[in-house]
Subunit: 451 residues, 2 copies
């Protein structure tokens, strides 16, 4: 039998039945929005609780939670704040394992709201019911068809996300999904009156589906436990954190957003260093790093070879690699000769960064042969490939060549062709972003190796 | 009569006739690529020079430059390096005003090549002919139908670009064009054996078509003159510079790319501060800043108001604004009351950042009323609007509301809707990037005001 956090949270993420409390046919009702998500995901044992509706989106409505005939492990509560304590009581009585309380107007509003939070936690714990929220969006788990938004993928993956923002818990996964990345579980934890980010970190650390964890955090409730968990989990599963509320004005905004106490910037920087957490400064950085950790093999060192058609971007990428903590590989004579054999002698360079010259946009073979030569050079740990071409199959060919070389590679498209990330290759619109992502990958690999 | 740099460069950018020397029907010939660009642009007085071809892309071929019957003010030279001195001599004799030498294999290859460069400059100057390049892509000037690439817009605009990279001189404008930005002139100046970036800076400073200047530079030949010109030009026309070769390895790559001497990072930082040049760290930053300077009115101060539906991104954007040197505006009671009148009391905040709550994605009116109220608040200098919606006209409505308020605004779309930049509004995919761009706009405005 499963124990601890796994035993407690699995029934909530894999519920036998779900009730949406407060869903109605009224325009703009958020309960209906949740229901719509569950229906689109294909979740079947779905119930609605509402005092006066008879049917919402074709689903039977029960006046109270206790009237539901089947088992309910998860209830999503969208009803007005004054009805919440009563609903929590009913759920605790019925044996509901977890409540997602979407309703806002609690701790983020001040003392009165914090008191109300303590009250509902007391009520919930009488019946072994745990609370997610209030003021949260709840959970997504494609394997169990549970969702907190519409438009998310039904395909399961290996990334888990913890978010102190409801909107980011949907927008960031959606953006990542467009790059082919798939998620195991997502939780938007809101005010965290009961279950908090640290609990979810522990759960995702143990969850066999989850191989890496990303988070948008505005603060953590139990810093010491967070630290201990993060340090051990990040040895196995990379943790990428974007911390909001790092300035005084940001912290003030965070307090009124989720009631979070942000902690000082310095404390967080120290925490990131000690725990091996990869720190992202923005949504974009978070997604850039995720792409590298999701798609790329583990680098053996920090020596990067740059292969480029355009010369200017290669110069700028050299700068960016150095600034990201990488080294430019010194290529062997053998490698340089191999490359010199296929490219023109003029307007090119076989010194790293390798400049394939202006003709390379029409000559994918120059890229493929260079990638192969660099793959065989033991002094090269990573590849950064810069290219632009009008040839439609150019990107696919480059991705294929990279696959044949077991070294992490970043590709920078010069705006001319669409190219999808592939196993072994991550794709960026800008050299600096690619270099930063490779830099973090190398840094984290060293952390895991204990260097 | 025009004098100085204007008199010298205008005939080159607005040529009566253009010859492409070395264009042939051979697969992958770059002369044909240039010709194709000119044909697409609709340039008419076009000639080809080639020893054996009879016709290329339907254009008459002449065996030598002197055989061309009409006036030629600009010649694009793509023929092999050993033929270049002879061609330069012929052009000087015919009275060609400017040569774009695309051919590589000069100064970037070492001493031998540098000697050859001095030789062709001597030959050219005997006939009052100026050289752009060698190892360059040349010039784009939509008003005169001159181009250096295919796929660029025929519409003229207000942005000029100087580039030490041929590919970036096409890729950056193309990306900016997709955002609606239009260019007056672009030059890729290559090895700069004769005309260099400083000359083009001077020209664009005087060019009435040009209102702002962007540049990718790997180094400048005459630092003192560059400084003096930049300082006076940037009082009238913002100059945004992305400097490549800022690390030792980048500088080494720059030397083999265009033979440039990069100069130390410190020197460049001091130069940027003294001259009011806006410094960009990457292609993406350059384009982000350009969008702000192109689309936004001049800010009166640095106090920003953030209006957001999603709470997390508003917290993170607050941090980003502070880090970018902006201040969060303290809103008047009147403004807060105006906003409180239209948004729900729960799950929202009228403190800056203004949180319109989860329902705002379905309620564009909440945005429009808030933008109006902030427009009337004299304590607000800039707007940062964060939004996501499934409503198709949401973005247009927001853009319209911003237009009614004469304050610079950045819009961050939460990945759900496409939205185009509009006069008064610039669009970014990420809060940090938006904040950085607004920060630079404020900083530069202070520089121009002499603070």
């Amino acid at each position: 039998m499963k124990q601890g956090i796994l035993a407690e949270l699995e029934p909530i993420f894999y519920p036998r039945g779900v009730a949406v409390v407060g869903a109605s046919n009224r325009e703009g009702n958020f309960g209906r929005f949740f229901l719509d998500g569950f229906v689109q995901m294909g979740f079947e044992r779905l119930y609605v609780v509402h005092p006066s509706e008879k049917e919402v989106l074709g689903i039977n409505v029960y006046p109270r939670v206790k009237d539901i005939p089947g088992e309910v492990d998860l209830a999503v509560v969208v009803s007005p704040v004054d009805t919440v304590p009563g609903i929590v009581g009913e759920c605790a009585e019925k044996g509901v394992k977890g409540l997602v309380i979407f309703t806002a107007g609690f701790g983020e509003k001040g003392d009165e709201g914090r008191k109300l939070e303590r009250e509902i936690v007391d009520i919930a714990h009488r019946g072994h019911t745990r609370i997610i929220g209030p003021n949260c969006q709840g959970i997504y788990c494609p394997a169990s068809r549970v969702t907190h938004f519409t438009g998310l993928s039904r395909e399961s993956g290996t990334v888990a996300m913890i978010s102190h923002s409801g909107s980011l818990s949907a927008v960031l996964p959606m953006t990542a999904m467009a790059q082919g990345i798939r998620f195991s579980k997502v939780v938007s934890s809101g005010n965290e009156c009961d279950l908090n980010a640290v609990d979810f970190l522990e759960y995702f650390g143990q969850d066999p589906e989850t191989k890496m964890i990303i988070a948008y955090l505005e603060g953590v409730k139990d810093g010491r436990r967070f630290c201990q968990l993060a340090r051990s989990i990040s040895k196995e599963k990379p943790i990428i954190v974007w911390k909001g509320g790092s300035t005084d004005r940001g912290a003030r905004a965070a307090a009124s957003h989720t009631g979070a106490l942000s902690g000082s910037n310095q404390v967080w920087r120290a925490l990131f260093t000690q725990t091996g957490i990869i720190s992202a400064q923005s949504a974009e950085e978070l997604l850039d790093y995720l792409q590298a950790f999701y798609y790329l093999p583990v680098p053996e060192g920090k020596r990067v070879a740059i292969v480029s058609g355009p010369g200017g971007p290669a110069v700028a990428a050299s700068d960016a690699c150095i600034e990201a903590g990488l080294e430019l590989a010194e290529l062997t004579e053998h490698t340089r000769r191999k490359i010199a054999e296929v490219i023109p002698p003029v307007g090119t360079s076989t010194d790293n960064p390798i400049d394939l010259g202006m003709g390379s946009g029409f000559a994918p073979q120059w890229y493929l042969d260079s990638i192969k030569a660099l793959g065989e050079d033991k002094g090269v740990d990573l590849l950064l490939i810069i290219g632009g071409s009008w040839l439609p199959d150019f990107g696919d060919k480059v991705a294929e060549a990279v696959k044949g070389v077991n070294k992490p590679a970043a590709f920078i498209g010069m705006g001319l062709m669409p190219i999808a990330p592939a196993k072994g290759m991550a794709v960026y619109p800008d050299g600096r972003r690619a270099a930063m992502a490779l830099g973090r990958l190398v840094e984290h690999t060293r952390y895991r190796a204990g260097c």
